[in-house]
Symmetry: C2
Subunit: 486 residues, 2 copies
């Protein structure tokens, strides 16, 4: 790979340019598709997302969610059934109005789903009959489309994204709330431990909740530029949808009641922006081993007359490591030099590179290079299997630790509005502040900090405000977190 | 399960009713979604399709296809670039014309993709530069939407379906033709050996090819009612798309040339109709072990005081079989009787049922029941692991054999039009006939046989016509296969 093809800007100096270059040069997305806000997902990113989806689906199924697939088209009459929901999503809908070649109008406008509540819940009213059917937990993997007004950015914000949405029904508010807790635990297991992305789980302020929800809870991570990115959100829907969609069940006493609902929506094609940004460095991606489509790349160092024995050694090691469940590939292409290959696989973020050359064969060893630290070690053949497996585990843990450190180091308590203004502009980050709870005040803070948005109160751990609202000076009712956002 | 919930009609007596009942009672699809031609895919069928997709994707990746994801929306200006293509698909397009809440028109109408050639190939023209980039093989897994005029039937025909489409570019016609051969081999490995669905691979008549293709090749299977169902098709596109989309590469001599293309489209959500229909019996589905979401179901036979030891035995066996890579579940639900569970899992088509009760524990055995034959065997605990693994392999092979037998028994040569008319109406099936090659004659045959459609000539094996066209009596130019179709 020529220098021209490498990333030419430092992540620490210009995150935005660095991000664009990575997306382009590691061949993750192509932004030249000719519909605004739509991108093409290229092979490497599809393979990473497949791994991410697998982890998520496995965890959801372990927790009793079953997969379904609903149509992508929602009749307008369904869509408008929940008043707040339609108000929130209407501006973002793509509408199908015609079919065929001669402009024939459809009987009723069809919304390309921006989210699936109003597609799914009419069937829930047919499927759920008795307390025996509850809890009723389903998930759907697929795309949604939103006519997004803001500027779009590959993965970060677009008009088409890939996600999972779970839709769940319960016999009580208490059980629904337990599901919110479970969603947070799933997020922790998959997104933190699996994707190595740290987050805080917030209850969003009243004025910033999902259209149609009683409460919205959401996980935010922090990007290298000091702005947060929203990861999954969970919505406690209460009976707001079960009433208009008539989802009732017969309880143990034989009485008819409306169900209580939640939904949870991890947007994998957005979360990957955090994986790219938080782990990557000036050489390219750094993929956590759990979601790397290739965990180990072997680069044979060919020299004349030794090609065959080098390749045989590579293949033997590959076989050994595959028995350990490691996903491994030999890059035996003859058109490029080893140096070119090193750069290429570093750009792609493969966690471990192994080099095997004629000298290593004589020394009975392989050279192992960690993508995250660059650390290079010679490992004897008889130890390779164990030590490479260990190295992958270490890399995973180290990536979590490093990501956590950056995240935690950038959460600060500020006591005055002046401090907030200064820090949020200088370095960004997440700030803990006292707030009165009024939307009006939140709006002022947002305007005057040039985009600082209150993310909400911490979920799952009670934190009490002390003193007065940082902006208006009235008695604070909440201790909240604030940050600029992507 | 009460009798009411079981299938109440024999497959051999009324296939159509049997099919509807299976779809409903095994909870595969819900047809009550309120957009015509759209269905909801329920958990069991999604899980089966996931297995089917996995086999297919693995095989495609083995053959060098890489995954991509293109937008679901195609600008009208792309869509109309290839003249025959647009003519063929235009009548089936759902159009997006408006966005948001106030009827704002989009700048250009957007087609909800009915197939992705015109979405993908503009990017191919940017990605493919040199002979080094060829062959260029990509696949996309996703949905397509077609405003289908004919009556819809769950899985068999609908307005939204789930498939994989591969799109490939080569440096010569010869290589493109080799890809057609490879597609047939992939179909053989995945659909025949994996899904246990037999087929013949035909070259379709000129008048029945894909809009924009030079030739269309397609696999047909035979449904129990004697009508064929089309499985994947492969299209040899030649340079019909590379010219309007300007997909050129520089050859080894430094000259610029248009690429040669193929595409292949296995519609998994349609192929599952064949899996349901060909393997199922009057008790429900019979799933080939390779695509069964649960391969073995253990039903504990509880009796008072013995619950714990029964369950322990079930769990030990489960652990053993999981080590063999078998997907297994214990149905330890206490609300239903063993008899209810037997019926339930038979309806769902799980290949093997194991019963373990207190007596079996004393006898040191388990009871193994094959779903396909109903055969019941007592197997000693120390042999369970090996023999159950063998049984799964045997079931797979037996399902292939039985399906092949039905398929082959129903392919007949007929020599006169009277014979064809009689047989095709009486029992259905696939018939080999001599044909002049003219569309006009094919149309007459179709009309007069009430729907007999010429499927084409056998691909990969030269079969010469002998004598005259079965209809017009002119010299036959092709030996073709004909059948009524779904």
């Amino acid at each position: 790979m020529s220098d021209k093809k490498g990333v030419t800007v430092k992540k620490s100096e210009d995150f935005s340019d660095w991000y664009s270059q990575i997306v382009n040069k590691a061949e993750l997305a192509d932004i030249r598709y000719n519909v605004k806000g739509f991108i093409v997902f290229r092979p490497w990113v599809v393979q990473i997302m497949n791994k991410m989806f697998q982890l998520l689906e496995k965890e959801l199924e372990t927790h009793g969610h079953l997969p379904v697939l609903f149509p992508a088209l929602i009749p307008e009459s369904n869509f408008v059934k929940e008043a707040e929901h339609v108000q929130g999503f209407l501006p973002e809908v793509f509408w199908i109005t015609e079919v065929g070649g001669s402009g024939k109008k459809v009987e009723e406008r069809l919304a390309l789903r921006p989210t699936s509540e109003t597609a799914m819940y009419q069937l829930y009213s047919l499927w759920i009959r008795s307390w025996r059917d509850l809890p009723f937990k389903r998930y759907q993997k697929g795309q949604v489309w939103r006519y997004e007004g803001k500027a779009t950015r590959p993965f970060i914000r677009g008009r088409e994204f890939y996600w999972i949405e779970t839709h769940n029904a319960f016999s009580s508010l208490k059980e629904a709330k337990k599901q919110v807790q479970e969603d947070m635990e799933i997020t922790e297991k998959v997104i933190h431990k699996g994707y190595a992305i740290p987050f805080l789980f917030f209850q969003r302020p009243e004025h910033d909740k999902f259209a149609g929800a009683i409460h919205t809870y959401a996980a935010d991570t922090l990007m290298p530029d000091g702005k947060v990115l929203q990861l999954p959100s969970t919505h406690l829907l209460g009976q707001n949808f079960s009433k208009p969609f008539n989802i009732k069940y017969t309880n143990r006493k034989g009485e008819s009641e409306y169900v209580w609902q939640t939904c949870y929506g991890p947007a994998v094609s957005r979360i990957i922006a955090a994986v790219i940004s938080i782990h990557g460095d000036d050489k390219g991606l750094i993929l956590p081993p759990t979601i790397a489509p290739i965990q180990v790349i072997i680069v044979p160092i060919f020299s004349k007359g030794k090609e065959k024995s080098v390749l045989t050694n590579c293949e033997e090691l590959k076989k050994d490591l595959e028995e350990e469940g490691i996903v491994i590939k030999i890059d035996d292409d003859r058109q490029h030099t080893p140096g070119w290959k090193f750069n290429y696989w570093e750009l792609k973020g493969v966690p471990i590179r192994i080099e095997i050359g004629p000298r290593d064969i004589i020394e009975n060893q392989v050279i192992v290079v960690r993508r995250d630290t660059g650390e290079k070690t010679a490992i004897k053949n008889n130890e390779a299997r164990t030590r490479i497996k260990e190295a992958l585990e270490n890399i995973q843990q180290d990536q979590i630790r490093r990501a956590d450190k950056f995240f935690n180091d950038n959460i600060k308590t500020v006591h005055t509005f002046q401090e907030l203004e200064k820090y949020i502009s200088d370095e960004g980050g997440i700030f803990k502040i006292n707030w009165c709870g009024l939307e009006e005040c939140a709006e002022k803070i947002k305007d005057q900090t040039n985009g600082g948005v209150i993310r909400g109160t911490l979920f799952g751990k009670k934190e009490n405000p002390k003193g007065n609202c940082i902006k208006c000076g009235k008695t604070a009712t909440q201790l909240v977190y604030i940050s600029k956002q992507h």
